[in-house]
């Protein structure tokens, strides 16, 4: 029986660009180039490795996002995923994590799955809570923040390096896994992969197809409200000295002046 893997990937504004908020205090997506969140490349990579080990597996990449989010799906397909689902609806604009997770959960259920894989956090929102929320909504074990993952005989195992301990985890499928950037470098799409991706199926679903009311999501339906967003004042220019042999001492003098010594 085929192992059905769904990988959740997010399309995010490039972190090295000049990111800011739009007038409605949602993430501005117009002025900065978007891309597949680098942290979700690790999720795609682990899905590919798990699929390579399995006798028969199918990887579906799933995103909830605007029109351009297709770019993120294409990238994942060119890395080797089999097919893609794009959930897109004007009413989704401004959804927070509760809204987005509701949509993802419905889409995952509709797609059918044995294993859901996500990244550890999105590089724009950086909440890192969506995986746990998805597991709660789907009612399956959460096996999260793994730096190592393996799937065998319907069981997922992995290592979670926590703050105070490193833990070995185990759960039966169906399950939800999130992987960290310690799980292993993601592969680059090959030329062949890029060409093949162009022919792979990308389905588009909207809210109606997922039987979600528009007032449950989007900015209006959001569970949280952002009242203000202000740019942090640039740090005032500090003192910069060139070391001519006394740099360490000068620094100590500064620290003493600030009462750190």
């Amino acid at each position: 029986m085929s192992l059905r893997i769904v990988v959740c990937v997010k399309y995010v504004p490039d972190a090295t660009g000049d990111r800011h908020f739009a007038d409605d205090l949602t993430v501005d997506r117009d002025d900065v180039d978007g891309l597949l969140s680098e942290l979700d490349e690790y999720a795609v990579e682990q899905a590919l490795q798990i699929a390579e080990e399995a006798d028969d597996a199918e990887i579906t990449v799933l995103t909830v996002g605007p029109e351009d989010a297709k770019d993120a799906l294409r990238k994942a397909l060119s890395m080797g995923a089999d097919k893609a689902i794009h959930v897109e609806d004007d009413d989704l604009h401004g959804s927070d994590v509760m809204g987005t997770s509701l949509v993802l959960a419905k889409a995952i259920e509709k797609a059918g799955y044995d294993l859901v894989i996500t990244g550890m956090a999105s590089t724009d929102g950086t909440m890192g809570v969506l995986p746990a929320i998805l597991a709660e909504r789907l009612g399956v074990p959460q096996v999260t923040l793994l730096s190592e993952v393996k799937v065998e005989d319907g069981t997922v195992t992995g290592r979670r390096d926590g703050d105070s301990a490193s833990e070995q985890l185990e759960a039966s499928l169906p399950a939800l896994v999130s992987v960290t950037d310690q799980s292993g470098e993601a592969r680059y799409p090959s030329f062949k992969g890029i060409m093949a991706a162009k022919k792979k199926p990308v389905e588009s679903w909207d809210l109606e197809e997922l039987e979600i009311e528009s007032d449950e999501v989007g900015l209006e339906g959001s569970w949280t409200a952002v009242d203000s967003a202000t740019q942090r004042p640039a740090r005032t220019a500090g003192t910069i000295v060139k070391d001519e042999g006394e740099g360490g001492k000068a620094l100590a003098e500064f620290l003493a002046g600030q009462k750190f010594i």
């Binding site: 972190a15 809570v129 074990p141 195992t157 185990e170 569970w223 949280t224 952002v226 060139k242 620094l251």
Partner: protein, 320 residues
């Protein structure tokens, strides 16, 4: 006065500092009711009472250590049902965020993560957060349900505020999902004797410029002269020079100490994301053009192998 649930992070009864900071914030909104789980839960009561907890709800069960996250969510939910609080505050650790998030789904609430400040407001608590690698500051609220908010370490002062802190046993029934993810084995991290990275008042970090695991000794020596925690950039961690648990940045720890000293670190956006809110920033880098110098209060352009040991010696001399 409304009650505010505070989830307690502790190790065998020793309460970690971020939880005490949470009590300070909780008192701005209402009366803190603490929830302590696992071995030593009741031992947390004295210190929690000193810092304002009117009640300490405790529970212990093997499930808390044998299974991941969900048993603790079941317990926090039991506390929520018992108290009907005005807000739920949880420390922003990896696990804390997951517990908070699942509770929020269950009680139909919105969630705010990684708050760096919290105030009472007309429409419920207002949380301050840093966005886009801390280049923006936002103020937000939970607009549906009971606010569930996770708060970063070093976001508030620890304040003495004696309260009753009466211990009450919390009855918890575990749901079917509680035993879904088994913790097969656990290898505790060895203690270095240095302060916890996220809680430290001073953090001394090394990057690719440190150029080898063996050279991290000079970073550690500087840290020890200041009683600081040691951090590392991802480049240093990926090279295997320092443990991942010490990584500072987007995919490592986010720190907000009084003083951050970066040596041999260029200051990439993902690194800045984890340290930009430090009060005072100091850098040593041989490249005068390194972006880290845009952030510093004091910077030394020079070879860290000359500057850092001299600095350490000078600190030791001054401290006597």
């Amino acid at each position: 006065m409304a009650e505010v649930l505070v989830y307690v992070d502790h190790a065998d009864g020793a309460v970690r500092k971020p939880t005490l900071e949470l009590l300070t914030l909780a008192r701005r909104i209402g009366e803190p009711v603490a929830v302590a789980l696992g071995a030593g839960a009741a031992d947390t009561a004295a210190v929690l009472a000193e810092h304002g907890a009117v009640k300490v709800l405790t529970a212990d069960a093997p499930e808390f250590t044998e299974y991941l996250v969900v048993p603790k969510v079941d317990a926090l939910q039991a506390a929520y049902d018992a108290v009907s609080p005005a807000a739920v505050l949880v420390p922003s650790s990896a696990e804390g965020k997951e517990i908070a998030a699942r509770l929020a789904v269950r009680i139909g609430s919105g969630i705010i993560t990684d708050a760096v400040d919290l105030e009472a407001g007309d429409e419920g608590p207002v949380a301050t957060q840093a966005a886009f690698a801390a280049s923006f500051t936002t103020k937000s609220r939970v607009s549906k349900g009971t606010p569930v908010i996770t708060v970063k370490p070093n976001s508030a002062p620890v304040e003495a505020a004696p309260a009753a802190g009466a211990v009450e046993a919390l009855a918890v029934t575990f749901g079917a999902l509680a035993t879904g993810t088994k913790v097969v084995s656990r290898t505790p991290r060895e203690s270095t004797g240095r302060p916890e990275l996220t809680e430290a008042a001073i953090v001394v970090s090394g990057g690719r410029g440190v150029n080898g695991a063996e050279n991290f000794g000079i970073i550690e020596a500087l840290a020890d002269s200041l009683g600081a925690a040691v951090g590392a950039s991802r480049a240093a961690v990926d090279a295997g020079w320092y443990p991942h648990s010490n990584q500072v940045g987007q995919t490592g720890k986010s720190v907000s100490p009084q003083l951050y000293i970066a040596s041999g670190i260029s200051g990439a956006i993902q690194h800045r994301a984890g340290m930009q809110t430090s009060k005072t920033i100091v850098a040593i880098n041989k490249d005068a053009e390194a972006p880290i110098f845009d952030l510093v209060d004091y910077g030394v352009v020079g070879d860290l192998f000359a500057v850092v040991p001299q600095l350490t010696e000078e600190i030791k001399a001054r401290k006597g």
